[in-house]
């Protein structure tokens, strides 16, 4: 195949959240087109938030995504709290972190085990995997259940959280519940170790492309909520200046907006967090990274899943420590902190499973008058396309089905959440 011509046309990429197509057009060995089309229906959440009472914002915006509902609610609450001058208590901050770990674990386990592992093990999906390796699937379901139970104890349910509200919580777990969850987390360590072992064996494509990696950062913890924006290209920005980083723009083949910072694209997500914040990882997570041969700065996008495995280790350990702190101080039922004012502008930012999420609200007399949400997958789209355009010319000698698989796996590695970013992905080889 000296000068191949072919089209790759993957309509509605599977095992991702939302709808996207991959379109590749190669003529006489030359790459003519290589797009990631986002064909999800437009969702208009920003317009729906406008004109609603501030107290509804976290409940409306959690419906952006069933997988990162807690993340959207948290970013939404932080935006509202900053707009209205609300300072949450230390107990609230600790509970939110613990709750956040539940969602991070649930999402990472789903992605690593059910969406990515089948590719590496050469089976079509988790259904045949359940027949080929039932112990692996049962382990994933067991770990996922604990993650969901953690969220359920704190906020009622993971999709869509109930007890999280501006200034605090409307319900609290009992100490006995916390103790039970803590003990189950400790017992989960053997499943976590088995997860690291599984991903040590999995073979991922050896493609590298260096890019700009951006994540929230704090000096004293592996940051998921608040902090400041830090780039591996240098530079840091307070959350309020997020627009200087995201620079949104539209392209006709996507209902999701795209972003760029210091280059034509940048990456957010587990790999970006690892590259920016590896020093703040829990020692056991650092150990797992070494076992998985993941070292900063890692520039193979397929390794995003491996970085998620490292974060699974970190979140389990940090959740145990958070539970210990809450059990030691004892949980007290506290009414949510009431806002001292009802007008203002605020920006909330969180590291949700797929990367940095921003919610920005303008509130007037208790009603939202302006809203802007920037979702991780939207930020990654331009970078995924840049990876695709760099990868395809290097594998033109492979068959069309192999190229298709490599591209689907690449897109999947980013763990895209297309209904978040409006809903995202189809691979179409043309």
């Amino acid at each position: 195949m000296a000068n191949p011509s072919f089209r790759v046309d993957v309509h509605h990429v599977t095992r991702v959240e939302g709808h996207g197509n991959i379109v590749v057009d190669v003529q006489n060995g030359e790459l003519k087109q290589c797009d990631l089309e986002i064909v999800e229906t437009p969702r208009f959440f920003e317009a729906m938030l406008k004109g609603r009472p501030y107290g509804e914002a976290s409940h409306i915006s959690s419906r952006i995504c069933g997988i990162c509902a807690v993340g959207h609610a948290t970013a939404s609450l932080r935006a509202t709290e900053k707009a209205l001058g609300v300072e949450p208590s230390e107990q609230t901050v600790l509970l939110r972190k613990l709750n956040f770990h539940g969602e991070m674990l649930d999402s990472h386990i789903l992605h690593a085990y059910m969406l990515v592992a089948p590719d590496c093990l050469g089976v079509g999906s988790v259904i045949p995997l359940a027949k080929a390796a039932p112990d692996v699937v049962m382990r994933a379901l067991r770990m996922k259940k604990l993650s969901g139970d953690l969220c359920a104890a704190i906020c009622g349910r993971h999709t869509h959280p109930i007890a999280m509200t501006v200034g605090g919580f409307t319900h609290f777990p009992t100490t006995a519940q916390l103790q039970e969850l803590r003990d189950r987390l400790v017992a989960m360590r053997s499943d976590v170790d088995a997860t690291v072992e599984l991903f040590q064996k999995l073979k991922l494509p050896a493609f590298e492309r260096e890019t700009e990696y951006i994540a929230l950062h704090k000096d004293d913890e592996y940051c998921f909520i608040d902090g400041k924006l830090v780039s591996t290209d240098g530079g840091e920005w307070p959350i309020e200046k997020y627009r200087l980083v995201t620079n949104e723009f539209l392209v006709p083949h996507s209902t999701a907006k795209r972003t760029k910072n210091q280059r034509q694209s940048y990456m957010v997500g587990a790999l970006a967090r690892f590259n920016v914040n590896h020093a703040q990882l829990h020692p056991r997570a650092k150990e797992a990274a070494r076992a998985l041969n993941l070292a900063p700065k890692a520039v193979n996008p397929y390794l995003n899943t491996v970085a998620q495995v490292v974060e699974i280790v970190h979140c389990v350990e940090d959740a145990i420590e958070l539970a210990d702190r809450l059990i030691k101080t004892g949980l007290t039922w506290r009414a949510p902190v009431q806002p001292p004012k009802l007008s203002g502008e605020g920006t909330g930012a969180c590291e949700v499973p797929r990367g940095t999420l921003f919610h920005n609200y303008v509130i007037q007399d208790g009603w939202i008058s302006g809203a802007n949400c920037i979702i991780p997958t939207g930020q990654n789209l331009a970078n995924i396309e840049a990876d695709m355009r760099s990868l395809v010319p290097t594998i033109l000698d492979k068959g069309q089905s192999e190229i298709t698989l490599a591209l689907e796996m690449l897109v999947r590695a980013y763990d895209p959440c297309i209904s978040c970013s409006t809903h995202l992905l189809e691979v179409r080889f043309e």
Binding site: H12, T14, R15, V16, E17, G18, T41, P42, R43, F44, E46, A47, M48, K50, G51, R52, P53, E56, H59, I60, R63, I64, C65, G66, I67, A69, L110, M114, L115, P118, G124, S125, V126, I127, A130, L141, R142, K144, K145, G148, C155, G156, R157, T159, H160, I162, A163, T165, F169, T170, H171, L250, P252, T255, S419, C420, H423
Partner: protein, 253 residues
């Protein structure tokens, strides 16, 4: 026992949280996988089957070009089940139905608004006949298992026709109104085990109205508890916009 019935999952405008809840239900009911054969579940598997008995459809319809696919699903499936509030009642997507469409489009996409197709969001039943619904945002895991069981037994799934208040009382919750909050429990269909009041928040009506709801009485109660007309409108249009607009138009029969 004959071949397992084939089931397929589809989604339109939604967060896919209901399908995620289906995945979660497998954590506690793995035997579901022995009872049915899943031929299509894009979020979880690559295989794409076009031969299925039951189609579970999540999401509302929010653009004309999605109608053809839904009609095709209707033709192929013996049973179409609306999965969750978006499919059942249009859900959160219908909030924007009370705003002028073009201004909604411009607010999000600016001068590129015409690049992206949309129309007022609607439930599946506005496009094709539906055989069963699993209400809720998101669906309740237990109810999903119960509805699937009923369908496999050839029965029509049963949904409560009484309000959330009944379940809330059975849980011995302190009434949300006693805690100086407001709640749509008196007019909302039960079946969620009153999960929101149990976790300290008022019912938001995601499961839809009970038959013959006393809306004027509900509005009086909300007013007595300090809600302005605007706040009441917001409360009753979070999940209920489509049903409320139908009632206003007098088309509910």
């Amino acid at each position: 026992m004959g071949a397992r019935p084939k089931v397929a999952f589809f989604e339109f405008t939604s967060c896919e949280g209901c399908q995620l809840t289906v995945v979660d239900s497998l954590q506690t009911h793995p035997e579901l996988l022995d009872a049915v054969e899943i031929v299509r579940f894009r979020e979880a598997m690559s295989e794409k089957g076009d031969d299925y008995l039951i189609a579970f459809v999540e999401g509302s319809i929010s653009r004309a070009s999605d109608e053809a696919q839904l009609k095709q699903i209707r033709e192929r499936a013996a049973l179409v089940v609306a999965l969750g509030t978006c499919a059942h009642l249009g859900g959160i997507n219908t909030i924007r139905n009370r705003q002028e469409l073009q201004s909604v489009r411009r607010y999000v996409y600016g001068d590129k608004a015409d690049w992206y197709e949309t129309y007022p969001a609607r439930p599946l039943s506005a496009v094709v006949p539906i055989d069963a619904v699993i209400p809720g945002c998101p669906i309740d895991r237990g109810e999903f298992v119960a509805v699937v069981t009923a369908l496999l037994q050839g029965r029509k799934p049963w949904l409560p026709d009484y309000p959330v208040c009944v379940e809330c009382k059975l849980k011995e919750n302190v009434c949300v109104y006693q805690r100086k909050q407001t709640c749509l429990g008196p007019i909302t269909r039960a079946g969620c085990d009153a999960i929101c009041p149990t976790y300290g928040d008022g019912c938001e009506g995601c499961r839809g109205l009970i038959p013959n709801p006393n809306l004027s009485s509900m509005k009086n109660v909300l007013a007595e508890h300090g809600m302005t007309a605007d706040e009441t409108l917001a409360k009753t249009t979070l999940f209920l916009t489509y049903q409320m607009m139908e009632l206003e138009a007098g088309t509910d029969g």
